[in-house]
């Protein structure tokens, strides 16, 4: 089967996120870049599916030329080829258009991807919509929040499992399909040295789709106020007992 994984280059933050001086972006001077945990699981799942069913994993990323670093990382985990979709716009609408157009280009050459995997939401922006938009553009079924992927015995369907408050939901979708997956789907592997050396030489092609900008603009980023822990003294010694009991009752703990 042919599997495509879409990944996004995001900063790997430390304990504290710093913003650029104009407040419109994350200050990445001291940071490395990575892909989000959802996407690591997507890559891992794709590699496992292909190991089981045969086929090929292509990994695709839209962004500046530097996204090649993340493509090669995914390839070092086992993806066979990379596609760099050069794109400067950051908004989710434009990204989805670029991805859809790139997928269209790739599929017009080699036929459709059986399964397209994305992360449920990006690790930095978290707009929760690129997967759905791509699926709409391509007219394919999409399931988000997925933590289990299983290809049917016939190879024509995929069973997608997700957790909800009521229990486990399982969706059956005909291939080709699209799914946005979540961390917990699997335990992603570390790239091996051989994998890394292979990835260094693996094929990465570049596409430059022309897409209009979407409607979402970043006006300003703001650091949420740090949550400070508040300590309330309920009393001292035996005098505090009543207050403690009241609190435990209030919290539903007794």
């Amino acid at each position: 089967m042919k599997v495509l994984v879409c990944i996004k280059r995001v900063p790997a933050p430390g304990g504290k996120l710093s913003l650029t001086e104009d407040g419109t972006d994350i200050d990445t001077r001291h940071l490395g870049f990575t892909i989000g945990p959802h996407e690591e699981c997507a890559v891992e799942e794709a590699v496992r599916l292909v190991a089981e069913h045969g086929g090929q994993v292509t990994v695709l990323s839209a962004g500046p030329p530097e996204v090649e670093e993340q493509l090669r990382y995914a390839m070092s985990m086992g993806a066979n080829a990379g596609v760099l979709v050069e794109q400067s716009a950051q908004d989710p609408e434009a990204t989805a258009r670029a991805l859809a157009e790139a997928i269209g280009t790739l599929e017009s050459e080699d036929g459709p991807f059986d399964l397209v995997l994305l992360g449920n939401e990006s690790a930095d922006a978290g707009n929760y919509q690129v997967g759905v938009r791509v699926a709409c553009s391509l007219g394919r079924p999409v399931v988000g929040g997925v933590k289990g992927v299983e290809v049917g015995a016939e190879g024509t369907d995929v069973f997608l499992r997700r957790e909800s408050a009521e229990g486990i939901e399982v969706y059956q979708a005909p291939l080709p399909a699209i799914t946005a997956v979540k961390e917990g789907l699997n335990l992603p592997r570390y790239p091996s040295i051989q994998g890394r050396l292979r990835a260094k030489k693996g094929p990465v092609r570049t596409l430059r789709p022309e897409v209009p900008q979407g409607g979402l603009r970043t006006v300003r980023l703001r650091q949420p106020p740090e949550k400070s822990k508040e300590t309330v003294v309920l009393g001292y010694g035996a005098d505090a007992a009543d207050s403690v009991v009241d609190l435990l009752v209030e919290k539903g703990m007794v």
Binding site: G14, K16, H30, F33, Y190, P191, Q194, R196, L197
Partner: protein, 838 residues
């Protein structure tokens, strides 16, 4: 929140291995009110200590680094933080095989047990190595791994247990105040501390902290890349942090060590990646820690291929992945050594920086000794922060040399190897002429000094029967037979040597004589116009320096000291200036240029260009006076470090070129030649048995042992007098001797020339160690063209220090017979100094 005391005896900034150890040893030495600060949290404040590879190979070519490392290992062991794994350095190339033989000689010289082992033996010790690419192994059974963070915690606990230490983490230093050039206060975000002593043990941040006080700590943060690959079942099976010896794969400049179920692979082969201390992220903003920067994969790719070659099996284990990869920051100085001691700019500001894990505890001990007693057990000339001239402390210089030096960390570095970057910093006025003469320049203190002159190549024919070539490339590297020819031409005719790199100081004022009497071992109270050569001792009675003092006038003196130790000498002298202002000390190094004019025709040349009387009667040996050399007012000093008739001529810097041209013009008919430092520092010096600071003369040896004790002890008190008197009474534990190499042909039939630091062994190949555990090794080595010998110097205890004793010297894996030809100071060449006194 902890509270800081208002005042402290000492504030140690930085709680990595260096700072913890300094605080610990200061407490042991009796300091009471010590404050240890760190900007980060404990136990891992985020510096280089927290991500180091933590292994220790004790053998280094440097004596003091080996000594500090061995002491550190003892300390780690005492803390229960040392796991002995053994370690192997492997050679893939013939060049590295030679280097491992050289390391073997260093191991023997410094007393570390190591062995050269076959590839088969390597495979027995580390079964995962592909030994088909290994030619030789250098096995050190005592190599070990340590836990420096836990060691630091224990050291703090012990100091706290003595009631001597206050520790304050998460405390950022915002300023360091000085008053009258001395530390007065440390400002922090948790309050200010009055103190007169600060230790900067801030690793890669040290330059930033020292700058707050107005001092420079010359280092730059550089990246060292390392990765962890695992899990590997063969390693996991050992159920230990390290169950196999550490492997250093020296040719690709890498190491591999077990760390639990992983193999850690580190490299010093990638491009030098330099950072700025001010640009290191804060603890909060950093991805992992401030000194673990994002891994730059492309720099490491070639190293992965090298690692796979040596460890193909376990690194290809299915399921083993790269679990951790960092660009770790470490500190690098212009010469790669640590920067220890009091900064020359600010009194009371001490540096304990650019310290590796293997040296941390030992450095703490050294620094505590130094701060408490004013001197150290191990000679620190290669580690003293004061060893750098101002030009060597500039950012430009530090960055250039760190960039060049990074790949030397595991490289094969010839002892005389010259730096390529940032050359031409300090040029004597003779430099244009020297360039025209094809000088090959060696650097000292930033000065460009001719080591020999290609223009003298024709002399090789003239002296063909007396000049050896060196057939082995290593022996001939950074050397030329022209040196020996220049030597012979000087001895037969007359030579000119550029000595401008001398450090020169003027000392004057009503207190000048008393001050110099207190500094020098020799009697300085001589008539005006006399010079005196004198050892300068430290408080333990070991050598601090040796130099010449000229009495220019009743209250006015000139100190002439070697160029390589100039900044340390300057610090030593200025530290001891009387507080009452009765002495004015002026550094005139950059105002004066110096020519050595020596050889049997030297007087013919000089008398042709001056009307002053330079005859033996009018200008006896050991005297100095101003003469007029064709309009250049020149301080002429009748003295010679090469043992021939002639003068040091000290002239105003701006008139130097005229002096040079005048001498060469007059010297033409006498066959004058330019001669390099190869003659001055080695061949001429060794024939005369003159000692060199940093080679024969170190703080571990005293004048009695070096043969420099004087017949009489002057009555005024001087630094080191008490221990000097005791040493005279006791007699030498070891004696500086000169030896000849009797047979220098190796097993391949190639003539070899043993170099300095080769161990001197008994005829049965045993190490020679004196009663104070100091081993015998070659302190200097070089040709003696006038004697037709190859000479070595070295300290030997009784009964070996007797003329005629046969011994062995180990060099590059082979042992050569040598003979003691002189025990003590009397020169081999012209023993009565008739030539100099002519």
């Amino acid at each position: 929140m902890n509270t800081l005391p208002d005042s402290a005896d000492v504030v140690v900034i930085g709680a990595g291995i260096a700072g913890n150890s300094v605080a610990h040893h200061l407490a042991q030495a009796g300091w009471h009110n010590i404050v240890l600060l760190d900007k980060g949290p404990l136990p891992d404040p985020g510096g280089s200590t927290g991500h180091a590879s933590n292994f220790i190979f004790p053998v280094d070519h440097s004596k003091e680094i080996t000594a500090i490392t061995v002491d550190s290992m003892h300390q780690y062991e005492k803390l229960g933080m040392l796991t002995t794994s053994g370690g192997i350095e492997v050679a893939r190339t013939e060049e590295r095989v030679e280097e491992l033989k050289r390391r073997m000689a260093s191991a023997k010289a410094w007393g570390i047990h190591s062995e050269l082992i076959s590839p088969e033996r390597v495979a027995e010790l580390v079964p995962f190595v592909d030994t088909s690419i290994v030619k030789l192994g250098f096995w050190t059974p005592s190599a070990a791994v340590v836990d420096p963070l836990q060691s630091g915690a224990l050291m703090r606990e012990q100091a706290q247990g003595l009631g001597a230490l206050t520790v304050s983490a998460n405390t950022e230093v915002s300023g360091i105040d000085t008053s009258g050039g001395r530390i007065s206060k440390v400002r922090t975000d948790r309050g200010d501390i009055d103190t007169d002593t600060v230790v900067v043990a801030c690793g890669v941040w040290s330059p930033r902290i020292a700058r707050m006080a107005g001092a420079r700590i010359p280092l730059v943060p550089v990246v060292h890349q390392l990765i962890d690959v695992g899990p590997i079942p063969e390693l996991a099976e050992t159920h230990s942090e390290i169950g196999y010896p550490i492997v250093r794969d020296m040719d690709p400049l890498m190491y591999e060590r077990q760390s639990g179920a992983d193999l850690e692979v580190g490299s010093y082969a990638h491009r030098a990646i330099l950072h700025e201390p001010d640009d290191i992220p804060s603890y909060e903003a950093a991805q992992l820690s401030p000194t673990q920067l994002p891994f730059t994969q492309e720099d490491f790719d070639p190293q992965m291929e090298d690692a796979l070659e040596l460890f193909p099996g376990i690194l290809n284990t299915p399921g083993a992945g790269i679990r951790h990869s960092i660009n770790g920051l470490l500190s690098l100085t212009p010469d790669g050594g640590p920067v220890l001691g009091e900064t020359p700019e600010v009194k009371g500001l001490w540096s304990a920086a650019s310290v590796w894990i293997k040296e941390g505890p030992g450095v703490g001990k050294v620094l505590a000794d130094w701060m408490t007693h004013g001197s150290t057990e191990v000679d620190m000339h290669g580690a003293d922060i004061a060893r750098f001239y101002p030009n060597q402390r500039t950012t430009t210089h530090v960055r250039a040399r760190a960039d060049e030096g990074f790949n030397k960390i595991y490289g094969i570095v010839h002892p005389n190897e010259q730096w390529e970057s940032n050359r031409g910093q300090r040029l004597s006025p003779f430099h244009p002429r020297e360039v025209e003469l094809g000088a090959r320049f060696f650097e000292v203190g930033g000065w460009e000094r001719p080591h020999w002159y290609e223009s003298n190549r024709a002399l090789l024919e003239e002296y063909a029967d007396r000049v050896d070539d060196r057939p082995h490339e290593w022996d001939a590297r950074w050397w030329s037979p022209i040196i020996n020819a220049e030597h012979l031409a000087l001895r037969e005719r007359v030579g000119v040597i550029d000595l401008t790199a001398f450090a020169q100081f003027d000392v004057s004022g009503p207190g000048a004589l008393d001050y110099l009497q207190r500094m020098a071992l020799a009697q300085v109270d001589k008539p005006v116009g006399k010079s005196v050569y004198t050892p300068i001792l430290d408080h333990n009675g070991g050598f601090r320096s040796d130099l010449t003092i000229i009495r220019l006038d009743t209250d006015s003196f000139r100190i002439i000291a070697g160029g390589s130790d100039g900044p340390r000498d300057k610090k030593w002298f200025t530290d001891h200036l009387p507080a009452d202002g009765s002495v004015v000390f002026t550094d005139v190094t950059s105002a004066v240029c110096t020519i050595g004019l020596w050889g049997p025709r030297a007087r013919d040349v000089l008398s042709a260009v001056t009307e002053d009387d330079v005859s033996a009667e009018a200008f006896p040996f050991g005297t100095a006076r101003y003469i007029d050399v064709d309009g250049v007012p020149t301080l002429a000093l009748k003295i010679s470090y090469v043992g021939d008739l002639g003068w040091e001529l000290h002239a105003p810097f701006d008139q130097g070129l005229k002096l040079w041209d005048t001498l060469f013009e007059a010297g033409r008919e006498h066959g004058i030649v330019p001669a390099g430092i190869g003659v001055y520092g080695t061949t001429g010096r060794l024939e005369k048995g003159y000692r060199l600071m940093g080679a024969e003369l170190e703080s571990e040896y005293n004048p009695v042992e070096a043969g420099l004790a004087l017949p009489k002890v002057k009555s005024p008190d001087f630094v080191g007098k008490e221990p000097y008197l005791r040493a005279r009474e006791r007699g030498p534990d070891t004696t500086l001797c000169t030896l000849t190499v009797d047979e220098c042909t190796d097993s391949n039939g190639t003539r070899r020339y043993p170099q300095a630091h080769s161990p001197i062994l008994t005829t049965t190949g045993e190490r020679i160690v004196d009663s104070r555990a100091r081993s015998s090794y070659v302190t200097s080595a070089g040709s003696a063209p006038s004697l037709g010998e190859y000479l070595l110097m070295g300290y030997l205890p009784a009964p070996y220090a007797a003329e005629g004793t046969g011994l062995l010297v180990e060099y590059m894996g082979e042992q050569y017979p040598v003979t003691v030809v002189r025990a003590g100071r009397t020169p081999l060449f012209d023993p009565d100094d008739e030539r100099m006194k002519a």
